[in-house]
Symmetry: C5
Subunit: 359 residues, 5 copies
């Protein structure tokens, strides 16, 4: 499962080869679910929520209407995307990027709207791997479009807050809504990163005392997961940084502190990801060291047993020779003397190993 | 085969030593095919395609003629290149770079034209290596020159689109054509990178369970291939970035979003190349670990067998001694007792190893 | 214990998921102590110190009053923080960061005040690990707020100097007080860094001569501690650098040299941390080398003993054969001759090993 | 030999300690040859070449005279350098750098002239090492001075072109001559880099199949050579980059494309050097892996032989015991049965190893 | 000894914890020698040199007096430093830094003077380690103050040149003197770096052929020494770079070339230090490889001996069995046949090892 997910993000781009640039083609895990479109329109006073909209119900809101948030679950239906693109005046390249799950996070300013690509991360406890989902936002005057690969609950808290009329959401414009959605995605990262961090630390604590043969494989997989996370967060940091500096007035000045906070959070996620990465590198070393230590121990046991008994066996061999003229064979106390010699040699060896701290 | 290709790109530069700078000399795999020149002239209405042009048929188009695209397959013929250079007013250093397959990707702005060097990449499934081809573009007012080392089909989709009058191509100027050609090359990278990525992942999945003796060699070769890819893509990213920022008006403002998209794609290729590289480094470590693990296992078997039997052999040796006075030899139950002792010693050893988890 | 501390800084962020951005939630080790608020108001002439203030006694000072320093021990009580936030006009995100112990060091300029997040470091000799404490400063006109997770003595020297009317403190404004508090924290770092440095050097000196089996584990733990320190100091350096360059007039020009000095000190701490880190990496290598050396020695002993006695045992075995027709068995001096041969073989082996420098 | 050369560049600087800054002292391999000065004066029409000039014949040319190129072979004669310095108005620090073979490549703009330090590289096939030579250029109005440590042929092609009146050389000013000389030096690098690259690749191809005991030493030496190359090329790149950007008008605008080309070439050399370096690092790993593999193989042979025969020897030992009451000894078919048992044990072992793929 | 020195630079900073910032406290190796103050006043005509000045004789010179250079040997006496600070109008933080031997190199511009912290390096041949000394310069109008931890001779050549009225020194201002002193310190670095470089190369040459057991320890120590050097030179480079760019007019424009030269020299020192570092890293690898090679050789000897004799011993064991019915025992030529078989087996083994190139 791990592999399938990973491939999704990086391996289908070539299917577009030869098409006109700006031709939208869905690149991602193939899906058959119908696309679900829902919308919430609100201002400080009212809130209207609609689920399961048909394409015909979706249109670009007039400025006077407060804020309209249209959420699209499912980006694999070219017809839907094309229609939306036309109604909201999206650039063909934007539609292409919306549908391309291998597109890396970025922020792009168009004359009419701001386009933001992000990645959702879910640590999947069943497959022990990170699921990646392509999430995009479009922020225009008075509206926000959000696109997800499939239905999910990451935006649910924002919806809740809108319905409850809590917080600043209802009294602010579409820019604040866009910020709130981005914040929801970044907050979600903490969950994945902490989950993966826990897995890593549990393993790290066990590794020296009880290394298992599949640990190396597991470390390898975790490294890939962390790599996936990095590839989602680093460009996002860049994108958020760009939003902060952007001259275009999509974000009001009153949001400055919030964007800085968001930027801060992405850096914190990066910090955690990099720590995980360093830990994993350390764990690889630890694993190798513990294998090496174990080998050392094996060698010591072999050496101790062999070096004690090989000389003794030689002594026994000597007196197993069948020469006619071997005076010792006929002596009365040869046998006990030989035993004493053998015990002395053995004890000497043991003492030597004790001194060497091999025993 | 792998090696021959690699050398081509990096190893013939010295043959030019001592010549006047700006002296065009073909540097690359020697070829004997005739140079093939084809042209397509089009505007929104008409399209004229000519194949196998002779040198005399090629001339710099007047501005009024729409767009003319001249494609040259084969860059090893000095006479042809010189003639083209003169007719299109190319700088001697440009001609030198056109013919030098060891030239790295770059974008250079001349007063009259824009010069772009790229590398085509093909993963060759037969030799399991990456073939590199030197591709250059010259974008002037109303015309585009493209140069390839040999006939290839990477530009075919662009030709198709021109013929079919599809997309934006026909309605746009030479700058859009140049962009479309660059885009075709970069899109082609995905194919090579994904192909190599698949090879790497297949190997990675097998490596821990079933390492083969030539894996190290293979990892080594793959590393070189990835290195080749990196050397093609990193400078290209720089070049495309330069095009975006360039003040010279070779690219219209309406192409900004497209160039940004192209830049984005090169970064994505780089991301994938770097991931492959990290995976390969990890695989090298995995291979070494698995060799080390295997050694460990070998050592354990040796140790278990040796430490069990060496003491037993010693005991047998003792009673093989020929002393006259060895009371045990004459006892009635010595033999079974010795067997019991030996079995006990052996069983004790086995129990010890069990506890140590060596068995 | 080490682990618990480490987790604190990096692992609870996700508990905030789904809340409104700017919602203060305490993120950190849970505590039940009551929050303690103390204040010192002073000007060049007078100083009034109050301990255990109730929330009602705390209010934003008027500008004419000289400098007021309010220190809050305990940041886990939302009610207290909220009340303070309101009285001092703090941004909701500031309160959020004040209570979030996983927030990394930073400096943020708000219109009314300057907000600085730092980390206190204590090397805990009992648990042999670094304790991290979240410390924040708010510098406004005529007042400084300081927040600590629990009562501590790091600011005590500053208090002493205020009381004693020594130094520049009493004659300067709130900016100098804020600087003095930052300086106290950074000076405190030296203690932790030097303590950890001593532990590392002691271990390093012992490592080659007397490696212990838990050294690897210890190196691993020290690496984590150093990582924790790095994560506290690097962003602090950035924050102090920002203060230096900041246009906002929270720091008077007369403090320039002092801020530069503070910046210098953070760089010095970083230098020391990086040195520790390099030493630890070197120690890991040293440990592995010494394990490898030891293995080598073990192998040598085994080889010497085995290769000396195995041939001798063979010789003895030969004359232990029971063939009827073995002329040597009946010769008069066979036995001593065999001994001589065996001694010669053994001595030859020893000489060979001597030459190889294995003995 | 390798070592001597390397030391030259980095190890005699201290001999100047205590002297006045700007005191010219020759730092380099001591030489006794006489300094040879030659000159070529030319304009578009005429060319006058003089060899073996005496100091008195050398003087700074008047501007009207076209271009004068004075080449000095040998920089160890303080008197000569001083005299030249005076006649051409060189800064004392320039003379110091001219004579200091440990000076790294750089470009420095003085009011009257441009000073460029470069390094010549020769791969010496006899000593299998890279010889470094200190080469400096001084470009003034109407003249170029070039300094080499000893007579060499790297500038010969330029001379040839001047004599033959070929190319742009004769029609251009002293700036183009300086460029041509720099180009000659950089072109020469390709030779060394390719030569070293060939040596590395030959070795790399052989390494896995047939590692030799001195390979490690050789890799080590090659690493040093590559290090030497890097130290020559990296600062040169910087220097050429500086020339491109320099405001001072020593290079005419018509040379821009040429300087860019030169810059490009240095980057290409750097690329090749870095590739060599990466290859060498990979080869070190390969060597270690192949040593480790070999060890593994050795261990396997030992283990197979030992684990097959040790149990068999034990069985033989059992029936070599001399107990009076050993019923098996008297049985009729004991001996063949024991053989069968022993063969079965041995065959079982072999089968086990087969299954483990050790055989 | 090595350790004591190293600690000095990095380990006493914490003793200042809790003091007022800007409180001068001596941080360094404790010393009891009296502080020695000497001065040299000169202009183009006269030079007055005074040794062993008392504090009362030291005062800030009037501008008309030419240049006064006051050298202070010993920075541990707070009283002296305080008095000097007052007389020359030094900032409290400057005095703090003057006395703090753990202060890293830096250049700081104050309104009245320029403050420069450097480190002197001496390779101590007795302790085989690098001694670090804290050296500071203060450059004001018409005067230079220099501070050393103890009497040393690094400035002696400058004094000599002043006395001898040689060079530019006497005719130039205090800025040139400051430059000359800096140059003297940097020139001194070459000595240490070259000395350490020689030690490293000697060891490197010996390492593969004759590794010793304490080499690892030595490499470790050298790494630390090189680290110490790096920590002195890198920030110095930065400081000198700052001097070059500084707008403040402490250095006249006529010194530009000299400062550039100084900067160049620090870069050259850095180059050499980095080369040493790379060599040391390579040597560590070489050492490990040679240990591994040696192990390999040991294993081979063991394997050869064991695998030759173990089968032979088995054969001998078989015919040492005491079965009644063993037909071979009674055959006439059994014994010689067995010998022939054993020799054949042994020879076969040897041939096998020959083919494997283990012999």
């Amino acid at each position: 499962m791990n592999k399938r997910k990973r491939k999704k993000w990086s391996a289908r781009q070539s299917s577009k080869r030869g098409t006109v640039p700006g031709t939208p083609v869905f690149i991602g895990e193939s899906r058959s679910e119908a696309v679900r479109i829902g919308s919430i329109s609100y201002d400080r006073g009212d809130l209207v929520e609609k689920g399961a909209l048909s394409l015909d119900d979706v249109h670009r809101p007039y400025r006077s209407e407060g804020v309209t948030w249209i959420n699209v679950d499912g980006i694999h239906d070219l017809k839907v995307m094309d229609a939306l693109g036309k109604r909201f005046g999206l650039h063909p390249l934007t539609i292409e990027d919306l549908m391309n799950t291998s597109q890396r996070p970025k922020a792009e300013v168009f004359p009419d709207y701001l386009f933001l690509v992000m990645k959702m991360m879910n640590y999947n406890d069943e497959t022990n791997s990170v699921d990646v989902e392509h999430v995009s936002l479009i922020l225009g005057e008075g509206y926000v479009l959000s696109f997800q690969e499939k239905e999910g609950d990451v935006f649910e808290p924002v919806r809740e807050r809108l319905r409850a009329s809590r917080g600043r959401l209802r009294g602010n414009g579409s820019d604040y809504l866009a910020y709130a959605l981005m914040d929801a995605v970044v907050d979600h990262y903490f969950l994945s990163v902490e989950r993966i961090g826990d897995v890593i630390e549990d393993m790290d604590d066990r590794l020296l005392s009880d290394p298992r043969s599949d640990d190396l494989q597991r470390i390898h997989e975790l490294k890939r997961d962390v790599m996936t996370l990095r590839k989602a967060v680093w460009p996002l940091r860049e994108a958020v940084g760009k939003l902060q500096k952007s001259d275009a007035s999509f974000f009001g000045n009153d949001l400055d502190a919030f964007l800085r906070d968001l930027y801060d959070h992405t850096i914190q996620v990066i910090d955690m990801v990099e720590s995980s990465r360093e830990l994993l590198t350390g764990m690889h070393d630890t694993y190798l060291s513990s294998v090496s230590n174990r080998m050392n121990e094996v060698m010591k046991v072999l050496t101790v047993i062999a070096t004690i008994f090989i000389p003794l066996t030689f002594i026994a061999g000597v007196y197993g020779m069948n020469f006619k003229y071997m005076p010792e064979l006929d002596w009365r106390f040869s046998y006990p003397v030989v035993w004493i010699v053998m015990i002395a040699v053995g004890a000497g060896m043991v003492a030597y190993f004790r001194r060497k701290k091999w025993l």
